[in-house]
């Protein structure tokens, strides 16, 4: 009985940490997007937008390396894109945490499943596939 209870508390702990991780990821990344957005608007106030035609060749931050280079220049749009990148990595961080917690629970089947999902995402990270 006491062993069972302990396991339950353990499960509950994992759920609370998981929830906190997700919330923190969203709040931090959205704050970065907001700050970048304000800087972007100040610098590009009078510029005319045109999104009528999809022009991927004009995209300045279409890789992780380009985003990090842009951050160094402190451009608003680069900061926004960095915030978006952090947002994209929030659920991925959640998978990594889940792998750890299943490892602690010795549920190796789900450790394996976690790694399979990470591998699938790693394939999409390989930009070559998208070009």
């Amino acid at each position: 009985m006491s062993a069972l209870k302990k396991e339950n508390i353990n499960d509950k702990d994992i759920q609370v940490i998981l929830g906190t991780l997700l919330r923190a990821g969203v709040i931090i990344s959205m704050s970065i997007v907001l700050i970048g957005g304000v800087i972007f608007l100040i610098h590009n106030n009078g510029v005319i937008t045109d999104y009528k035609v999809f022009k991927p060749e004009l995209s300045k931050f279409s890789s992780i390396a380009a985003i990090f280079k842009g951050i160094a220049t402190f451009h608003g749009d680069a900061i926004v894109q960095f915030g978006i990148l952090m947002l994209i990595f929030t659920p991925i961080a959640r998978i990594i945490f889940a792998i750890f917690s299943f490892f602690i629970e010795r549920d190796y089947l789900y450790v394996l499943i976690g790694f399979i999902i990470l591998a699938i995402i790693a394939i999409s990270l390989n930009g070559g596939l998208a070009h």
């Binding site: 990344s29 947002l87 699938i120």
Partner: protein
């Protein structure tokens, strides 16, 4: 249109989309895309890139609350994420090569389907028959707490649910939406999960699914900071307020009105798509 004006309009539109999307259960992504393409003339590729980012934000935000309550079945979620992520990446890659008009037509059809699904009465299919060998092997049978009582449930037809998730993931990657309607079909009707578990688990999965396709979109230049910024801030704010209002309001009438509006938008997207072919 100047950047400032564009940002303000998109911000307001995205706020409304997030609010209505969470009140009706349709999701913010399916509303912001027609808004951007029909009202502002934005190319659908950019609209999809911005929408997928907002899907990650809203689903991760609400999943945080559900996971803490212990209703989400993390094992089912992760097991099915294999299907949705494979689907999402394939969908996102196909979207790159697909003409914008075809995407608009498919989008319109899914929009009508989702609107009908929000109106349909839900039928409880839950079962305690825990004989499914896949469910046993993957330890999917579980229980969830409701008002202090634990309710046990069993999972059926795992391969069927997995296949449906593959399809839901593909559409999510192709159209930049959460495809919650399809995920709930897979879990309620095919796998026989209780509503509370299926909606929260579907939400839990959405973040990872959307992240997988968002990475493809990012590399493809479909995520433009100028559009994605107001869209994700607006949708997230609207959705958080919506989820608080939802607790004390009845939304039956709103759902009907909204389904009509959405169907009208969908028909317009289909019409535009067909006439552009």
């Amino acid at each position: 249109m100047s950047v400032l004006l564009f940002t303000i309009i998109v911000l307001l539109g995205a706020f409304l989309a997030g609010l209505l999307g969470s009140l009706t259960g349709l999701g913010g992504g399916v509303i912001i895309i027609p808004l951007l393409t029909l009202a502002l003339g934005v190319d659908i590729h950019y609209a999809i890139g911005a929408s997928i980012v907002s899907v990650i934000a809203t689903s991760s935000g609400s999943a945080a609350a559900y996971v803490k309550e212990g209703i989400t079945n993390i094992r089912i979620g992760m097991f099915l994420e294999i299907a949705t992520t494979v689907g999402a990446i394939s969908g996102a890659i196909v979207a790159v090569y697909l003409n914008a008009n075809y995407i608009a037509i498919i989008f319109g059809c899914i929009l009508i389907f989702s609107a009908i699904m929000t109106l349909k009465k839900k039928v409880d299919h839950t079962t305690l028959d825990n004989t499914d060998k896949w469910a046993k092997f993957f330890k999917l049978n579980s229980s969830y707490p409701d008002k202090g009582v634990d309710h046990a449930y069993a999972v059926k037809n795992v391969p069927g649910g997995f296949a449906m998730m593959l399809f839901a993931g593909t559409l999510s990657g192709l159209l930049g939406i959460g495809s919650g309607a399809l995920k709930v079909i897979a879990m309620d009707n095919i796998m026989r999960l209780p509503f509370k578990v299926s909606t929260t688990t579907s939400n839990f999965m959405m973040g990872v699914t959307a992240a997988a396709s968002a990475i493809v979109y990012l590399h493809r230049g479909q995520i433009d900071p100028g559009i994605a910024m107001p869209v994700c801030i607006g949708v997230l704010t609207g959705a958080s307020i919506g989820s608080k209002v939802l607790l004390r309001t009845k939304t039956d009438k709103l759902k009907i009105v909204f389904a009509v509006v959405v169907t009208f938008l969908a028909l317009q997207m289909i019409y535009k798509g067909i006439s552009g072919l």
